[in-house]
């Protein structure tokens, strides 16, 4: 998966899909890559959408951070590529 082919977008483009399951905006959320330890906003992740779901990869090391897929009436979310995901709760108040 070469990074100079520009076949990716960024985490901003996943905001709509992921708002189905997160109560808060995830583009400004901070996540730590479980592979390289880089801590970045989700908006900065590289987003691959030409697959059955969405794959977000670390902008620093290209490791998979998140996978999200719709199957019928069910969604699957895989977050194991991040050691944590930190969201600002002030927008809920």
């Amino acid at each position: 998966m070469s990074s100079d082919t520009y076949d990716y977008l960024d985490g901003n483009a996943a905001a709509g899909e992921l708002s189905k399951i997160f109560a808060m905006d995830i583009t400004a959320a901070e996540g730590q890559c479980a592979h390289c330890g880089a801590t970045k906003r989700f908006a900065e992740a590289r987003l691959y959408m030409q697959c059955p779901g969405i794959v977000a990869r670390c902008a620093a090391c290209d490791h998979v951070l998140l996978r999200f897929v719709n199957v019928g009436q069910r969604v699957f979310l895989d977050l194991r590529g991040m050691t944590y995901f930190s969201l600002d709760t002030s927008q809920l108040q």
Partner: protein, 206 residues
């Protein structure tokens, strides 16, 4: 936006809002027609008053300018990447902000400029927005710069210098964003002050 056909087939797409934040009563979306698109030809050529569209949003709180920000702002747009930046410019006007804004807008040909008249008005008013077009394929007659992509010279000459610590917002196709953000970093801007949004088709396939 979700569109549902009579037979129940539905398609979902994400679009950027062009209207100012907190603008009441109207949401303006700018949709670029993709010739082989499934939804954009309908929205740009067939949709009629009275048609019902399902909208959810606004979504996304990262690629946003807030009127409390007073630092210099550098906007860099590639093609339809102007759309969310236009919302920032309109929000600045409606909030009465005097934050110093510069816009560098890269576009293939003069005919492809979005919001040309409105941008001109913003650059002619008090507390003007400094506006620079960069034409990549064809420039108007007598244009000072030959057609070409944004390069280090242009960034140095028309954007805020890094010592003013501007916040930079870069939006456009992925190749454009990577190039422009790289040039900003080479000119000394802190990557933490550069926010990017990469544009491309976002349709889901269900």
């Amino acid at each position: 936006m979700r569109l549902t056909a009579a037979d129940g087939y539905s398609a979902v797409r994400s679009y950027s809002i062009t209207s100012a934040a907190h603008f009441k009563g109207l949401v303006e979306l700018t949709v670029e027609r993709l010739p082989d698109g499934e939804v954009s030809p309908y929205l740009t050529q067939q949709v009629a008053i009275g048609d019902r569209l399902e909208l959810r949003g606004p979504i996304g709180g990262w690629f946003v300018w807030h009127s409390e920000q007073t630092e210099p702002i550098q906007l860099i747009a590639g093609g339809s990447g102007i759309v969310p930046l236009m919302a920032m410019l309109r929000s600045r006007s409606s909030a009465g902000s005097t934050a110093p804004f510069r816009l560098l807008y890269s576009v293939r040909v003069p005919e492809a400029v979005f919001y040309r008249d409105e941008l001109q008005a913003l650059s002619d008013r008090d507390h003007p927005v400094s506006l620079t077009y960069a034409y990549t394929r064809t420039a108007p007659k007598d244009w000072p710069r030959p057609p070409g992509r944004i390069d280090a010279d242009l960034i140095t000459n028309v954007t805020w210098p890094s010592n003013l610590v501007p916040t930079c917002y870069v939006c456009g196709p992925t190749s454009f964003v990577e190039s422009a953000a790289g040039l900003l970093i080479n000119c000394g801007h802190n990557p933490d002050k550069i926010r990017t949004e990469r544009f491309g088709p976002t349709g889901d396939r269900r």
